[in-house]
């Protein structure tokens, strides 16, 4: 099966579910990159380009939502979560409006565009907002189901999407529920808790670990907020060590969310793998993952070191 980027899956899902006339899609001059142009081809009368004005896009989305629209607002993660953060906070989250912020080009795997465009803080920033649900999907099927779930859910949702084509993790029968983590590989020695395309890397890392006698469980946390505390506690009880893996800075992202949930409910050792307080840089996605220590081999090494 070929690789599909989650942004691609997003555009296709919008077109698939777009017959619902309440759906309105906004973009900020990036519709070919965010893939909202896929929706535009089918429903041009409900797609609006807001130009290079992300703050306005977020508030216009809020205004549309007050009139009963289900609004999808898309741009790159850096411009959604950070440039327009306060608009999201005050005009979308505070009044709890029905806006879905679908932010593409998240993480290092944007690639050659470099640090200014590689958002590695969005999960932390969006997670800090009351009323916000934060989702980060790993593949085509999960993205498709997440978009459907976001349509059915009344309230603000941030969905983190990637530029890079990724392998499938989930099958057609995959059931998505907001707030419920998914065990994608069972194991008893350690749990790798991953989100986004780190789910695929963690599965590969688990294969490497198996060759070294370590039986690793892998959990896909597609909903970073509200996080599946019950599943995390169960994993901590059953496997001891928890290792979080994210294409995001280690401050306040998936690792932070997992630590918050476990320290309150079942304190245990957590090793956080992610970007170590650094900005990105230009390079191929593969070279970047290597440079920042996020390949399957590097993850496996860190797991073994953490097990001690």
């Amino acid at each position: 099966m070929g690789k599909v980027a989650t942004r691609e899956a997003y555009g296709n899902a919008l077109a698939q579910y777009g017959a619902d006339e309440r759906i309105v899609v906004l973009d900020a001059d990036l519709s070919k990159s965010t893939k909202t142009d896929t929706f535009k081809k089918v429903y041009p009368e409900r797609h609006f380009n807001m130009g290079i004005a992300e703050a306005d896009m977020m508030c216009v989305a809020a205004g549309l939502a007050t009139c009963g629209k289900i609004v999808f607002a898309s741009t790159f993660a850096i411009f959604a979560a950070e440039r327009a953060c306060e608009q999201i906070r005050n005009s979308i989250c505070y009044p709890k409006l029905n806006v879905k912020i679908c932010a593409t080009h998240a993480g290092l795997t944007v690639g050659e565009d470099g640090a200014s465009h590689q958002c590695v803080e969005d999960l932390a920033v969006m997670r800090a907002l009351p009323n916000m649900t934060v989702i980060s999907t790993c593949d085509e099927i999960e993205t498709n189901r997440a978009i459907k779930a976001a349509i059915d859910y009344d309230g603000p949702v941030y969905i983190r999407l990637g530029r890079l084509g990724v392998e499938a993790v989930h099958g057609e029968d995959f059931k998505f529920e907001i707030g419920k983590g998914v065990t994608v590989r069972d194991g008893k020695d350690v749990t790798l808790v991953a989100t986004g395309l780190m789910v695929q890397e963690s599965l590969k890392a688990a294969e490497i670990l198996a060759g070294k006698g370590v039986d690793a469980r892998v959990v896909d946390i597609h909903t970073v907020k509200p996080i599946d505390t019950e599943l995390l506690v169960k994993c901590a009880k059953e496997t001891g060590l928890i290792v979080t893996v994210e294409e995001h800075n280690i401050s306040g992202g998936l690792g932070g969310a997992v630590c918050e949930a476990l320290s309150e409910n079942y304190p245990c050792k957590v090793k956080m793998i992610g970007v170590q307080e650094k900005f990105g840089k230009s390079g191929t996605p593969a070279a970047l993952l290597e440079k920042y220590g996020l390949t399957a081999e590097q993850i496996a090494e860190k797991v073994i070191a953490a097990k001690g």
């Binding site: 703050a55 306005d56 216009v60 809020a62 205004g63 549309l64 007050t66 005050n90 005009s91 009044p95």
Partner: protein, 288 residues
Amino acid sequence: MDKLRLLELEKQATIIRMHIIDEVFSANSGHPGGSLSCTDIFTTLYFEEMRVDPKNPKWADRDRFVLSKGHCAPALYATLAAKGFFPEADLNTFRRIDSYLEGHPSMNYVPGCDMSTGSLGQGISTAVGMALAGKIDKKDYRVYSILGDGELEEGLVWEAAMSAAHYKLDNLCAFIDYNGLQIDGNITDVMNPEPISDKFRAFGWNVIDTDGHDIEALKAAMELAKRCKGRPTAVVCHCHKGHGVSFMEDNYGWHGKAPNQEQRDQAIAELQQKLDGIEAEIAKVKEA
């Protein structure tokens, strides 16, 4: 507008001003200057222009209003209460811990409030979204917003001005409360947003300059705005901050300060005198 109707609206505006003073006095904080400045715009909108139903505040076909300068919540609350959206007696709970009348308005707490505002620049941008929704749904409701002149220093206002013109939102009408003052002083000293009318014109808006304390002129501007097709309208309202209270008028010190008991009593006495004068005139007109 006939004389009696005009007097009744002026009477209503004076009552709203008295409520504003008492709201800010009872909370011992809030923004009296800008609230008194935009009171006549509020009165004309809610008592002469807007299609709203206090018994059905979420009516889908209602005209919308967004207070982009959200700190002037005292004026919004006094107007909504006077219109019957909630009891006037609640106004003196303004800014209290157990009140629904927040320092800046929340759409989820206040009946008749269409958008939560307070962070400058965002209100007008959300109003663009409401107007766009009206166009998508082919509804005939109109969307109104009041902005401060200092607020025009926010870049987002101009992003919104651009998108409103781009999508030809002739169902959108923004009032600029042009009183020339902001917290730190004269707008031209702090960060000059002038020439205001020329800027909106350059952004593709229909622009009407008017006296922001002349209810007949405001009503005429609203009529002109409705007749303008293909462009949003900016009504640039030349106002006086603190209008109606002698010691607050044109004094930026009253932007965000509550009066003490003595000042409150003087303000109410001045407004009461104005109210008595209007009522005497109403009686005369009715006799004639």
